[in-house]
Amino acid sequence: MVEFFATLNNSGFSYNLLSDLQNMWQYTFMQHALEVGTIVAVVAGIVGYFVVTRRLSFAAHALSHVGFAGAAGAVLIGVNPLTGLLVFTSAGGLAMAALGKRAASRDVQIGTVLAFMMGLGVLFINLYKGYATEAYSILFGEILGISKTDVLITLAMGLLILLIMAIVYRRLLFSSLDEDVSEAKGISVLGISILFMLLIAIATSIAVQVVGVLLIFALMVTPAAIAQRLAHKPSQGIIISVITALLATWFGLFMAFYIPYPVSFFITSSVFTVYILVRIFQSIGHSKTSIDESISVTS
């Protein structure tokens, strides 16, 4: 795909953003990429905020690896890889949630399953005797090769996640920030963690199309980690997380259209850069504010 890009009829940046975007929009594959990229960034930004708040980032990472086996298995038996991803990550998410609320934070157990699933995926890819590009695109994302069907599946899954989030938002937030109290207040901690693991599973599956199994952190964790450091209210945090994921995705697509490097490289490096900058500015700012500790109390 990268080589294919180089052959496209574009002469690089024209310093006219509008005509650049028009140029990009001519291509169906770019339209699909922008559509899926946008849906995924919004969903990953929202779900990711809770992934980080609930300290489930490793579990989310592991789920995407479980998805690798699913996608590779689907390729082997001639099914849409996205379907394989959804089935495997959902099953993995349910299993993790059912094993108890603490299971999702056990690195060793999760890591063991993760390695096994990756091994299984390697076997499936090998049995397929197909092209290494299949494995490559599952591992690192292939947003430029997305079909119309995948766009529609992504849209449906994205809307489903947004709908569920809108309903359970406050309960999920309460149980994420304050599990013991929320339980005493009558929220089913197990129920909400099963539901949320399913949401992670679906979000991960559709995000794999953009950044791949191995780079899932870039969309599901890093934007939310940036948001968590900046936001003083959960709603702010979600907005910052979504905007970061969106800008990184759009930036990645735009850059990759003109420079023959992978989209996922641009996405991961842009969120990484923002994360580092935020940390640096905060450590500078922190040493300042700790000197004049004045807190304004206004309502």
Partner: protein
């Protein structure tokens, strides 16, 4: 205080608690009246938190009856405010304290928050913080507060729903002596001015003695309750803890207990 005019909000008869098939404590007959300040004491692992779990409807008694507000305990009882033992607060998280307090009323709701409700909730949260003299903490991230300040936020979160009963699990843990006494005074004010009954779990009885109306002791599988004068005697405490404990009396009748810390640590 005239106890006869106060209504009972917790009563238990021959109540027993068990974990799996192992009895934690049994034959507890306790009662708590509206507006009482009660210290719940006993060694580690004696089953103090278990008592809270029963009251919150999170666990079932193995036998006996327990009534709270004349009903069986149930999950999500809005008349109870609960502050669990030390919670993990992610230092990377910069959510301001006010948001945590708000969750005390909004956290169990479904659907989105309308702006009108949100500002009403914020006002309630600010009022609650004002009532416990913690308004200055409202916009500071919870993760950057000291232990004593955090306890104030947790207390506000438990109080925002205007409960009739507060369950505080080890709020004094990890506080220095000054913060400890500040927090006890604060809780005592809440009891006296908002007519809320408080059950407070603590390790050390001494800082509580000047304030509590009664004490419930849980030790060695038994539950005893009484006024400080009744229960804080060398004989009863030695029997409860199964370790030598001395009670000293000051010239003004103040009590001080020696040996509990050692007994607690030996039970470990």
């Amino acid at each position: 205080m005239n106890n006869n005019t106060l209504s009972e909000i917790i009563t238990s008869e021959d109540l027993s608690a068990a974990y799996k098939s192992k009895v934690i404590w049994e034959h507890a007959n306790i009662s708590v009246k509206k507006g009482e300040f009660i210290g719940l004491l006993g060694p580690n692992g004696a089953g103090k938190t278990t008592m809270f779990r029963l009251l919150l409807g999170l666990s079932k008694p193995s036998s006996g009856t327990l009534k709270i507000f004349n009903e069986e305990p149930k999950k999500g009882n809005i008349r109870i405010g609960y502050v669990p033992q030390r919670r993990f607060i992610d230092t990377e998280n910069k959510i301001e304290s006010l948001e945590y307090v708000r969750l005390g009323i909004s956290g169990t709701r479904f659907g989105f928050n309308l702006p009108k409700h949100a500002s009403k909730e914020r006002k309630m949260a600010l009022d609650t913080l004002t009532s416990i003299d913690a308004l200055n903490l409202a916009y500071r991230p919870l993760s950057e507060l000291s232990g004593g300040e955090m306890q104030r936020i947790f207390l506000a979160q438990a109080l925002i729903g205007k409960p009739d009963l507060l369950l505080l699990d080890e709020p004094l843990a990890n506080l220095d002596i000054r913060r400890e006494s500040e927090l006890i005074r604060l809780v005592n004010n809440v009891v006296k001015h908002q007519n809320v009954a408080v059950l407070l779990i603590a390790h050390d009885i001494n800082p509580l003695l000047p304030f509590v109306d009664r004490i419930i002791y849980i030790a060695n599988g038994r539950v005893a309750s009484g006024t400080p004068g009744e229960i804080v005697t060398s004989k009863r405490l030695t029997a409860l803890y199964n370790a030598p404990i001395e009670v000293l009396k000051g010239s003004k009748g103040q009590l001080a207990v020696l040996g509990i810390e050692e007994a607690v640590h030996n039970h470990g």
